[in-house]
Every structure is written in C-alpha cells, then in structure tokens.
C-alpha cells in the first residue's frame, strides 16, 4: 500500500515571526512597520530582518514615504505572499489531520 506523500512546509513562511507577519498582513490592506512590530511583540532589528526575507521572497511589498516630515514604512501582502500563506495553511491542515 503506497504511503501518501506529506506536503512540505514553505521554510520562508514557517519561521514563527514571518508567519505572524504574513497572518497580520492577510487581514489588512497595508500596515506600518511599528504596527507590525507592536503586534508581534518583536524588536526593530528582529522584525526588520524577517521583513527583509519576506520582501526578498516577494511575499510582501514595501512602500517608504514621509508623513508630517516623519518617515513611514508600509508593508502589504503580495498575491504571491497570499498564495504562499494559503498553501502553508493547507499543508498545515494536511499534516495535522484531525487535530484541527
């Protein structure tokens, strides 16, 4: 009897902080750097590194601008990022089976 093939989890999405960021961005159009940092309880440096990896994978877009003479960095989920998150959730469901 052939063993059903288990799905692989996308390592870019799987890191806890990156998964948190993608989940947060999935419910909004765009979000500020500070909002993402506060919601995940992360530090500037830590979340900055993970955001860079997500940007590198083209899972998120970054927009830098000025508001009231203060720099503002906004992030949004790309269609590719949304698809990656969907695939990750589907794989997670399959791996966990009846637990969810």
């Amino acid at each position: 009897m052939p063993v059903p093939e288990l799905p692989e989890l996308d390592p870019v999405v799987h890191a806890k902080l990156r998964l948190a960021v993608l989940s947060l961005l999935s419910g909004v159009e765009r979000a500020e750097f500070a909002w993402l940092r506060d919601k995940t309880g992360s530090s500037d440096g830590n979340i900055g590194a993970h955001l860079a990896k997500l940007e590198e994978a083209k899972y998120i877009d970054v927009e830098k601008k000025f508001q009231d003479k203060k720099p503002l960095t906004l992030y949004r989920l790309t269609p590719r990022g949304r698809q990656a998150l969907s695939d990750y959730i589907a794989a997670l469901k399959q791996l966990l089976g009846n637990a969810i």
């Binding site: 998964l19 989940s23 909004v28 506060d38 966990l96």
Partner: protein
C-alpha cells in the same frame, strides 16, 4: 515573539500546533481596531443641542451655531489626529470606506448648518431639518450595510423616520423631534458604541 529558524521537515506535531495558534492569534490581531468612534457621535449630539439651548436661553444667540459647530469640528480634528499619531496604523478597505463616508457627511453637515445659520435663510424649518436628518441617515445606513450591523440599521431607520416626521408632524413638534433624534441617534448611540468599543478592545475584536 522569539523566533528560531527551523527545518520544517523535522517539525513535530507540537510545533505545528504552535504555528496554527500563531496564525489564529495574528489574524485576530489584524482585525482588532484601537480606534474609537463613539465619542464623535456623543460630541456631535451634544454640540448641536447646546447650540440650540444657547440660541434660546443665552446672550448673543447669533453666535451659538457658528461657535458650537466650529468648536465641535476643532475638537474632532484635534482628537482624531492625536489618536492617529499615537497609534501606528493598519489600513483596511472597510475602514477607509467608512472613514471617507463619515468625513464627507460630517463636512457636509458642518457646512450646511454653518451656511444656513449665517445666511439666516432657513425659514422653512421643516425642509431644513429634513435635509439635516437625511445627511445623518445616509452615512448611518451605509455603515449599517457595510458592517451588517443591526443596531446601526435601527439608528438609520430612526433618522429616516425623523425625515418623514419633519414634513408631516405638527409644527410645534419640530424642535422636540430634532432634540429626540439627536439624543437617540447621536448621544445614546454614541454611548452604546463607546461601551462596545471598550469591550471590544478588552477582547481584541472590532467591527472595522
């Protein structure tokens, strides 16, 4: 949130369940809004009622409406900008749509009352009040439809009833209708909304 790079292929069941929890928590966090709207309804209920009281009972009645409307607009602008300044933002289509509807309606009501009072051309009180009620009914109806919120449907229904009453009720009822509509539609609804917002912020969910 501490993070460690992991090899997904070696993830055990507990780790996968942890990831699932992160997903659920963060999706809920993304929906959570810290913005408060209830106080704006209360303010825009109290300000016109105060203006009316001033017009009838206090000196310099001509100043009542311009002063109260300008004061309410200034408070709204100042407090709103402070709220935004202290709170890093997330942006949703629903939030932007509702903010736009209320901003346009609020500006229209402000200009309408100010121009009508300053020009003294509001002799037809029925038409004046009916128009004002329509300007309040429309954004409430839009909000109710977007949020699918039964309570706000009731509020918008009340404003549409006020429009009908403004035309058909006896003239002596006009001021009581105006006062009752503002007390119910703005002050009472604003208090109710503030209570909901406080509960929502404690639980971590919000409507927009």
């Amino acid at each position: 949130m501490p993070d460690a790079e992991m090899n997904p292929t070696t993830s055990n069941r507990a780790e996968l369940l942890e990831r699932l929890t992160v997903l659920e928590q963060m999706v809920n966090e993304g929906r959570r809004s810290t913005e408060k709207w209830g106080w704006i309804f209360i303010l825009w209920g109290i300000a016109p009622l105060t203006a009316l009281y001033w017009q009838i009972h206090w000196p310099h009645p001509d100043w009542s409406w311009p002063v109260m409307m300008t004061l309410a607009a200034a408070i709204t602008a100042t407090v709103s900008s402070r709220q935004h300044g202290h709170d890093p933002k997330r942006d949703t289509a629903v939030h932007r749509a509702l903010s736009s509807v209320w901003a346009v309606s609020g500006s229209s009501i402000f200009l309408y009352i100010l121009v009508a009072v300053l020009s003294h051309h509001y002799n037809d009180l029925r038409a004046f009040l009916a128009t004002l009620f329509i300007l309040l009914a429309i954004p409430n109806t839009v909000s109710a439809a977007v949020l699918r919120w039964r309570t706000q449907y009731l509020v918008s229904g009340m404003w549409w009833c006020a429009v009908v009453l403004a035309f058909f009720a006896p003239m002596s009822w006009e001021v009581p209708i105006y006062v009752t509509a503002l007390l119910l539609g703005n002050v009472a609804f604003g208090i109710y909304l503030s209570i909901i917002e406080r509960r929502s912020s404690e639980k971590g969910y919000a409507r927009a």
